[in-house]
């Protein structure tokens, strides 16, 4: 039984959607150049950057997988948040890679890679970034729709529209996508930044309110006792958890360090900043948010465990708990907060992967420079096509295992190689195109092979025996090794790829 009240909560959600859409569409008139569309004319300041970075990297999918991690592993499930916060703090404080990247004035990472490794490597880097990014984002819409259907408490699965049976989940996914696509296609990064700001405020108020409610009514002692009873010491320490261990912690450190350096949606905030110092400040001041990002929904997941006990589908535990725990009125704020979180993430991701397709994959096929007007039109078409892809992939792809692991493995397809390429481009003079090519091929092959092994019935047990953490660590190790070995093998003069 859900506490969602269509009149009270529905009005709150409707008002939020109306204000967001109006703000997103209003600023489209400021878009005059491709630079305005892709990086907001590089005019973003610190506080808008903090709001945008936090809103972008927290979607419904984030809330679902972090809550699932809390439900399945207790407090130990929040380890990735600590790894990411420390990575962002160190990189922001030192300017490691992000300072030379922003100072170079590029729009995307492959653009910088071209200056060291040539146009072919730039194109290949663009392809793996888009492949990893779109596979990663492919599950966002479905999980967002799943959350909303569960929390609103729609018991029936479909409704009749002009003789067609339409599933509520599919309808939710489509409406979510259309709302986000409308302002992203028209206003690009400018609309994304303005709506991100509004969404950050709404999302944060909702997250804090629900968390305080849980800590007051479920209680800290009950949450801790539940984690202790279900997982023992492993619920508080990832090193002694039977399903996690040192390989989990090492994979999280590698994954999150690489993500802070090269995850294009994160780095886009540095590239849209006024200068490299502003970009570094955004990183330093947003870093602790990534602890909150894992710990706060993790507590929601642990509260679900304390209230509902063990359930079959761990991903649905948190929304099922919220639907009966959060009272009417606050439920509207909670759903508006989650919609805000999801819309800001989807819009940024669509724009970002679109910018790589436009800037790095299509670049070699341009015979002459495109006009600003044509460039903006093509970018808008790419964002629209990405939206269509997301809808169909989300409907078709059967998700297995926990969501965070799927995101980690698909993200590794590009993070393992692009992080090595970026570090080498910035700091290793001997790095060259042979090393870059070897790094890209090996780093993409290992996670793709793991996903294939996992999906093939005959090899599923083998994939389970290897596990996602060893597979992920292998991808990073192989990528670094390939860069060193192949770079040293290439003759100092000649030997083009």
């Amino acid at each position: 039984m859900t506490n969602f009240n269509w009149l009270l909560d529905g009005s709150i959600v409707g008002l939020y959607l109306l204000v967001t859409m109006a703000a997103g569409l209003y600023v489209r008139k400021y878009v005059g150049k491709v630079d305005d569309f892709l990086v907001a004319g590089r005019e973003m300041n610190v506080y808008l950057g903090i709001a945008s970075l936090a809103a972008t990297e927290f979607g419904i999918v984030t809330c679902m997988y972090t809550a699932e991690a809390g439900y399945k592993y207790g407090f130990a499930g929040a380890t990735p948040g600590i790894a990411m916060a420390l990575s962002m703090l160190v990189i922001g404080y030192t300017g490691f890679c992000i300072k030379p990247l922003r100072d170079s004035g590029v729009i995307t990472i492959p653009q910088l890679i071209e200056s060291r490794f040539g146009p072919r490597i730039r194109w290949a880097a663009g392809v793996v970034i888009v492949l990893g990014g779109l596979l990663n984002m492919g599950v966002f819409l479905r999980i967002g729709g799943q959350f909303l259907v569960q929390v609103i408490g729609l018991k029936v699965t479909s409704f009749d529209l002009w003789g067609f049976q339409i599933g509520y989940l599919e309808a939710m996914m489509t409406v979510l996508l259309l709302a986000v696509a409308a302002y992203t296609i028209l206003g690009g990064m400018l609309s994304v930044l303005i709506t991100d700001f509004l969404q950050f405020v709404v999302m944060s108020v909702g997250l804090i309110a629900v968390t305080v409610l849980i800590l007051v009514y479920v209680g800290w002692d009950k949450i801790v006792a539940t984690v202790d009873a279900n997982y023992g010491a492993g619920g508080f320490n990832p090193f002694v958890h039977p399903d996690l261990g040192w390989q989990y912690v090492l994979f999280q450190v590698l994954l999150n360090f690489a993500a802070v350096l090269t995850w294009q949606t994160t780095i886009a905030r540095v590239l849209a900043a006024k200068d490299s110092m502003t970009g570094q400040r955004i990183y330093v001041r947003t870093s602790f948010f990534f602890v909150c990002r894992f710990l706060i929904p993790g507590i929601w997941g642990m509260a679900a465990l304390a209230t509902l006990g063990q359930v079959t589908n761990t991903l649905d535990a948190m929304p099922a708990f919220l639907s009966s725990f959060v009272p009417a009125g606050l439920m509207g704020l909670c759903i508006a907060a989650m919609l805000a979180a999801d819309m800001s993430t989807d819009s940024s991701y669509m724009l970002t992967w679109g910018s790589v397709i436009y800037n790095d994959i299509m670049a070699p096929f341009r015979k002459t420079a495109w006009s600003e007007k044509k460039g903006i039109l093509i970018n808008r078409m790419i964002v629209g096509l990405i939206g269509v892809f997301l809808l169909f992939y989300g409907l078709w792809y059967p998700l297995e295992g926990d969501v965070w692991t799927y995101l980690g493995i698909t993200g590794t397809i590009y993070l393992a190689s692009i992080s090595v390429l970026l570090i080498s481009a910035c700091y290793w003079k001997r790095a060259n195109s042979w090393g870059a090519a070897g790094s890209i091929i090996l780093a993409a092959a290992i996670p793709v092979m793991f996903l294939i092994l996992e999906k093939t019935p005959g090899t599923r047990d083998l994939a389970k025996a290897i596990g996602p953490y060893y597979s992920g660590i292998a991808a990073y190790a192989a990528s670094g090794l390939a860069m060193v070995v192949f770079s040293l093998l290439k003759p100092r003069n000649g030997g083009n790829v």
Binding site: V46, Y47, A78, L190, L193, V201, L207, F236, V291, C292
Partner: protein, 40 residues
Amino acid sequence: MKYFWLILTIAAVVWYTLVTTYVAYKGVDDIRGMLRRLAG
């Protein structure tokens, strides 16, 4: 370890509340400035 997570949880809720309030206040100026420069 339980006290570590207790301290981290309190820090997360307090920090998040303060940052949200401050960013909501200062972010409006950032947006005005950005739109003014873009329209300039």
